[in-house]
């Protein structure tokens, strides 16, 4: 699907699996909105100068659709309350694209909810 808009978000329910993937394209930004479980390697660290719960967890690598992505930079982290669950969203970059990985602290699972690129 093509729209004249740009970056869209994936906070609202979307189809599970790639069948529900939606592509929003514009000259500058392409966004694939999705909702798939993903295997994430992360460092959990409670020590040191951790001011917020957000700072304790840091994804370093994830495997998505049989491909390995190394996280070069965590560009933004935010927390959202979804029902009783705390969900931590990580915008991560592999140097080329930005991916949104979401960690549900109640269900203890990771989901990839979006990819963004120029």
């Amino acid at each position: 699907m093509s729209t004249s808009g740009a970056l869209q978000t994936s906070f609202w329910p979307v189809e599970d699996s790639s069948a529900g993937e939606v592509e929003l394209e514009e000259a500058e930004v392409t966004h694939h909105r999705l909702s798939e479980n993903v295997k994430v390697y992360a460092i959990y660290n409670e020590t040191g100068d951790r001011k917020f719960p957000h700072d304790k967890l840091r994804p370093i690598m994830f495997i998505w659709r049989n491909r390995e992505y190394r996280v070069q930079d965590v560009t933004y982290v935010w927390r959202e309350i979804q029902g009783q669950a705390e969900v931590y969203h990580f915008a991560v970059s592999d140097g080329a694209n930005v991916f949104e990985l979401s960690y549900n602290a109640k269900a203890l699972d990771w989901t990839i909810t979006g990819t963004y690129s120029e």
Binding site: L7, Q8, T75, Y76, Y116
Partner: protein, 430 residues
């Protein structure tokens, strides 16, 4: 104006070593996040950095620019512009859908930081706050050092910048904070106020809008200096009780305290409004939108243990003409369906077919708290059902269980209410 425009890179050790006794005059700080929503998105998506972007509700919808990046601002794009207006000024502007949850979480964490410096923190909006550090700044090596600590923390944790004004009151703190943006730090002390106000245009003051400015200009008052000298009697003759207040503003005086958000006045009403995706006269669609809005209002009322007696309906037509009508009930209600029924009755009285409807809003006022125990409460038999439904929605998210008619509901708009205030504080250690 020796204090103006102090650079953020000033010698920190010099500040830290300075003796900082408790000052005699008030020390109020105004912190304003620079192009908040746009900067958050540029931080999240590195490929947007350095580019003109505009954050809006829905780039394809009928929303307005909620925030523009500095690159877009330099091209003339301003908050509240329509998307066509923004595109006309800056054709290459990149429109980005807003992420309210991201901004709310960021703001909540930043407010938690402010609270480590003083308990007098007033939330002015999601990206602006006042801090009264009169009694506490000396514990942190003085107001300038507090300002630098805040700036450093925000930069380090979020990659964002803010502009800070420090002055003897809220009016001047906000004014000074806006003098050097982005990433500014401006300090105005009491002895500098008269010189600062003398040639300052009245419209630069927070609280003087275009209508007041026009009235003042007609009196020959263009600057704050002129306003401060104008006879109070004549001002009160025109502006009523506000005349005295305007005169004090012109003199740079503002006695209003920094009011922590937990002490803010009680809620007077709760409501929601929604701009339809397309103008419509389809009554079924209108009924569904009103039910969704009513359910949202009812849910908020119950969450905060409120009930109200007066239901107001806002109806805006495609030509932007807007009508409001309200109806007061005998009993208090907090049930979305009951709110909807009253709303539809009001709609029937207001609507002029076949005009196209652009916006619908519904609110409940005349609120009281903790009324469920009394017999005046309407629908008390339904209370246990609401409790059950609310607990499911608390657990699984809004509208997990909803009336069948709302199966095709419109996604909640990506907006943050101007009355937004943080909920439970996010833990922070210093």
């Amino acid at each position: 104006m020796t204090g103006f425009g102090i650079g953020v890179g000033m010698n920190r050790s010099a500040i830290a070593s300075r003796q900082s006794p408790i000052p005699r005059e008030r020390v109020v700080m105004h912190v304003d996040m620079d192009a908040f929503f746009a900067s958050v998105e540029q931080q999240t998506f590195p490929f947007l950095r350095g580019k003109p972007i505009g954050v809006c509700g829905d780039p394809d919808g009928r929303t307005v620019i909620a925030a523009a990046s500095y690159e877009a601002k330099r091209r003339g794009v301003k908050t509240a512009m329509t998307i066509p207006e923004a595109r006309k000024l800056c054709p290459e502007i990149i429109l980005v859908s807003g992420h309210p949850a991201k901004y709310v979480d960021t703001s909540t964490r930043i407010l938690a930081l402010y609270a480590t410096f003083t308990d007098l923190v007033e939330v002015f909006s999601i990206d602006e706050a006042f801090l009264d550090v009169t009694q506490t700044a000396h514990l942190f090596h003085g107001p300038e050092a507090v300002a630098h600590s805040i700036k450093d923390f925000i930069k380090e944790h979020f990659g964002l910048t803010c502009s800070i004004g420090i002055a003897p009151n809220k009016l001047l703190a906000k004014l000074s904070g806006e003098m050097h943006k982005p990433d500014g730090l401006t300090i105005v002390s009491q002895c500098e106020v008269a010189a600062l106000m003398e040639d300052l245009l009245v419209q630069e003051l927070c609280g003087i809008g275009p209508k007041t400015q026009e009235k003042l200009n007609r009196l020959g008052i263009k600057t704050c200096g002129e306003l401060g000298r104008y006879p109070e009697k004549q001002l009160t003759g025109i502006f009523g009780i506000n005349g005295s207040h305007l005169k004090r503003m012109g003199q740079g005086n503002d006695e209003n305290p920094v009011l922590p958000y937990v002490h803010e006045p009680a809620t007077k009403s709760m409501g929601h409004s929604f701009t339809l995706e397309k103008d419509t006269r389809d009554l079924d669609e209108i009924r569904r939108h009103l039910l969704q809005l009513s359910e949202q209002v009812g849910r908020r009322l119950r969450k905060d243990n409120f009930a109200g007696r007066t239901v107001s309906l806002v109806l805006r037509y495609a030509d932007f003409s807007t009508f409001i009508k309200q109806h007061s009930l005998k009993n208090y209600i907090d049930d979305g369906l009951r709110i909807h029924q009253v709303g539809m009755k009001l709609f029937g009285e207001l609507y002029q077919p076949p005009r196209l409807v652009r916006l619908l809003g519904i609110s409940v006022s005349g609120l009281v708290r903790n009324l469920k125990q009394t017999t005046a409460f309407e629908n008390s038999r339904a209370g246990s059902l609401f409790e059950s439904l609310d607990s499911v929605n608390d657990k699984y998210g809004e509208f997990s269980v909803a009336r069948a008619r709302l199966q095709e509901r419109t996604p909640a708009p990506r907006v943050i209410s101007p009355s937004w205030r943080p909920g439970a504080p996010t833990p922070v250690t210093r």
